[in-house]
Symmetry: C2
Amino acid sequence: MNLRVPGPTPCPEDVLEAMSRQMINHRGPEFKELIVRVTERLKTLFQTENDLFVLTASGTGVMEAMVVNALSPGDHVLGVSIGAFGDRFATIAETYGAQVERLAFDWGTAADPKLVAEALEKDPSLTAVMLTHNETSTGVTNDLQALAAALRGARPDVLIMVDAISSLGSLPCSVDAWDLDFVGTGSQKGWMVPPGLAMVSISTRAWQAVEQAKMPRFYFDLTKAKDFLEKSQTPWTPAVSQFYAMDVALNTLIAEGIGGIVERHVGLGEHTRRGVKALGLELFAADEASASNTVTAVKVPDGVDGGALNKMMREEYGVVMAGGQAKLAGKIFRIGHLGWASVEDLDATFDALRQALPRLGYQLPEAAQVR
Amino acid sequence: MNLRVPGPTPCPEDVLEAMSRQMINHRGPEFKELIVRVTERLKTLFQTENDLFVLTASGTGVMEAMVVNALSPGDHVLGVSIGAFGDRFATIAETYGAQVERLAFDWGTAADPKLVAEALEKDPSLTAVMLTHNETSTGVTNDLQALAAALRGARPDVLIMVDAISSLGSLPCSVDAWDLDFVGTGSQKGWMVPPGLAMVSISTRAWQAVEQAKMPRFYFDLTKAKDFLEKSQTPWTPAVSQFYAMDVALNTLIAEGIGGIVERHVGLGEHTRRGVKALGLELFAADEASASNTVTAVKVPDGVDGGALNKMMREEYGVVMAGGQAKLAGKIFRIGHLGWASVEDLDATFDALRQALPRLGYQLPEAAQVR
């Protein structure tokens, strides 16, 4: 199968092999070496000297970890949303008692740094801002650098919490240079590792917030993670296999370097957008400049059944795409191109679309018709 | 290495092989089949027709899941503890605002069903009881059947929440017959699967509690897990690899049957206790009748340095034992014999102890001296 969902992403052979290694004592010397090696290299790719922790959870877990460690019930926070995952971040904070001022941008668009900064300026009671770096549900990437700069301009000490789940390890994200307080990501994205680990960095400013934060937390308590990392352990039994896999994936990623990683994803993103547009299809991103280089959302053409398209692509052409989430169900399909993805994988996807779409009533543009 | 910690436990070859399978779409048809097959067979081994969910987390995560789904801040609950994990269960509940009446028994002893029932009867405001089935930190197994019966006798509708992390899949635990409301376990124990999954069953009575329960929850929200399981999915991206592994491990466990699984662990437990006693060592369990059949805690003999013993065992004999936790650090060592453990693994452990202990100043009994 050509797995083109935006996570879990396909894993390279050596990463999968590492998954099958025998267990070790997670409180013993081998694991100590492993966690140190993994953590240090993750910091390199996060471009941070902040503390960084690896949790056993999926992406939603790390969003919750950021919320419960940063905030107290009753806190006023700004929840900037450009899609389903931005909404989820806000909902998690509300679930734990935060008062979230929701600033929603139309799905398909990026957040406007000016409007975000204005919202923050308007309400001095806001102490934190929740941002999505790359919105997996709409295939749109926020200009995180500009957002962070605008926020810092408006309020230098505001707490900036970033869902970087489908961006970090793929798209540019300079945690320290952009002065980001909490930044979370998940192993099953650009990291090319099976799901099960979530990674989060936390700044000095963020630690001050943690000390004040009163939301209840135990499993996701980063203070416990810090205490245990000082002895090169995790507080609870970690997903040891995914640690092995991350260790191997990091060999590749570190060798490639941040520049190479970013360039690769830019190339894959551009190739995907060219490919779908050549089929006469429309990007869901309102402005191509903010279209994501990790996942492309494409409008299901009028008259075509989106569910039937995804089913046919999978069953008859071996291409597994993602559908739309929430209010976009049936209206878009999504092609993941993060992590271990190649131009060939994407070309095979376009070929399959070129064959499947006409069978579902879509008229291909002249130039795209099967020769 | 002879990995003799009480989890993560060694995994059989076919389970490890399954860990290295390529990723699939967690919202697609292959995963649907997988989660249905895994969930149904887990229910067989839980001996339950209750709902059962597989979470991506380690054991502490499932303890938290039980607490936050069952309780509201301010609830009065009875926290029965016979060791570090019983204490942890109570602490989690307190962290989320429950008023925990702690009923602690001496470490090394089991909980007395009569005293537990009396504590419940004495305080009609108690609505739930938290129990540890097998206390990994002390190597003692509670008589869960007797405890549940005594509690039901005292208060038929009390909520019974069970940490069965290191018991289920190894020791007798009849969830429905014993009328247990929340029962949680973890993949890295008797299940012979790497850490990363936690499984929890929830009774009809427990669902009524969930409806009333006001503790905040999102990642561990079992209502969301139920909604998604209805479409054979998980709410968040699951640890797909551990699902593959669990699927394979369940082939073995189901073929063996509950009777076989229990008998195997009884045999391993008895063999371990015989082995350590033959070396003149003392069990930490005050009463051998309650000594655990998944992990044996042994007193470090007077004059021997517990840390040095574990280090020598690992470095010079290739046997990885666990030390003591919390107040037992340095005072006991622990031998895990759950899951994929054999009499040969244990004999190798005794042989190593027979050689290591005298080097650390211990006088072996005549009969145990190396021939």
